[in-house]
């Protein structure tokens, strides 16, 4: 059996990959994808904890996260489309209407 530690490290590394992508990439869609990677990293750790502690709560939370993340992605993409109609770009560096 794979030890719990491995899963925790996997989820930690995946979380950092998502965070790194979110901070370095400048394309809105890629940034959205990076956040999804972070969510899924959390899901891995929750399922692993849940399995090793023989407690189902963690897996219930995972279902909730998956459902809400889908709603979040829908809203995010809708906002990206609204923005593209106004500005014809999805590079975050060019969103500089407000300063100070």
């Amino acid at each position: 059996m794979v030890p719990l530690n491995w899963y925790i490290w996997l989820s930690g590394v995946l979380f950092c990959v998502g965070m790194f992508g979110f901070i370095t990439r400048r394309n809105l869609i890629i940034m959205l994808l990076s956040v999804e990677i972070m969510f899924n990293a959390v899901n891995i750790s929750l399922v692993a904890f849940s399995h090793y502690m023989e407690d189902l709560t963690g897996q219930i939370l995972v279902f909730m996260i998956i459902a809400v993340a889908a709603a979040e992605a829908a809203i995010g993409l809708a906002l990206v489309i609204a923005l593209f109609r106004n500005k014809e770009t999805i590079t975050v560096d060019e969103f500089n209407e407000m300063r100070g």
Partner: protein, 475 residues
Amino acid sequence: MTLANLRPMAPELILIALGLVLLMLDLICRKKEMLAIVTLIGAILAFYFIKGSHGGLFDGMFIADLYSNFFKTVFIINLLLSTLISVKYLDTERALHGEYYALLVFATVGMMTMASAGNLIVLYLGLELMSLSIYVLCGFLRNNIKSTESAIKYFLLGAFSTAILLYAISLLYGSTGSTDFNKIANAVAVMGAGAALKPLLLFSVALFVTAVGFKIAAVPFHMWSPDVYEGAPTSVTAFMSVGPKAAGFAIIGKIFFVAIFGLHVEWVKLLIPISVATMITGNVLAISQTNIKRMLAYSSIAHAGYALLGILTADGDGLTAAMNYMLIYMFMNVGAFAVVIMLRTEDFAGDELKDYLGLAKTHPLAAFLMMIFMFSLTGIPPTAGFIGKFYIFTALIHSGQLKLAVAGVLISVISAFFYLRVVMYMYMKDPEVETPVSDSLYLKVALAISVVMVIVIGVFPGKFIEFAKASLILQ
């Protein structure tokens, strides 16, 4: 389970029904003002039902107690005031879509769920219901580039902070074996303080501080808030500068004061630099702003810092003071935004500082109200803002944090500069342009409620302090 068993969550159920009714009414109702009236009636009904809500539901996942009822009162008054100031504003901005009121209502339900959560899962769901509704509200002026830009900024950083919160939840679940606040508290107590603590648990505390910091816009997690507050429709800015912030403090009470109270030495250490940095940054950066919405955004960052000072005491007095501060902050902040909205007319934006030049000569009443709100935000007696700060600093001194109390008072002196500058512009300069102000009856009602509450709390604070004190969960 019968309907009567659901009595503890009656306010939420009423508001959810109200939101659905609003969505349906939007299809058949041509006059959008009707929707605002329906929202007001529904919210008052829900408000009426708060008082009798008491008890746990769904195996302790949802708890209606005096603590959550205090916050629900704040959220519903916030909903009422925001609805009142929106009616005319939406007309001016030509954004008459009925979903607006439904989204306000759903966001409020999300906040109420957060305040009532007895379990991390419910807390997460409430938080997302609130956040998702507010992302859409920020981008409500679809053809306005600033509005969509502010929505996307809020969305990206909001989703990022949610991911961090989830990671914190997962690590807390992993190290304590439960998502129920009371069970987590027991597990943390068993593990004991200090050396025996698991590193995972400490890491989770740090992540919680980060995630909550994003939600209440504490430095260094405040970057999103000035842009979002400036770009969002003004009525939404008023709504979201109070609601999510108060909800953030509601979950601070739930997580920090119940679930991981055993680790209070650790989280107080993390929060001290954050709260001091928040006060300094908010007040100093507000000085150089020329846009009044942006100035109020920085001021709202600074106010989160003052309220955090109350949390730092890690005792009941401090939490009471912070809760009380949120109640007071709501009236003065929504009031200030209501004056900003009052100046918004067909061809006049009214959100630059220079638009306030000589306002006392052209519109004495608007200028007078703005002056009261600015005095209250500064913390000058006999306004409510003074009472809020007074109780925060008293709680700090009682818990022996003298240095922090002195720092807080000194930093709040800076804020007098930019708040009183608005007053100086209004009263001591000559007007450049003459513009009409909005004559909406709804707006006037909202302004009247805010200004009366600011003065009443300032002169007779006793009742309100007792209300906050009686609402504490931890004794």
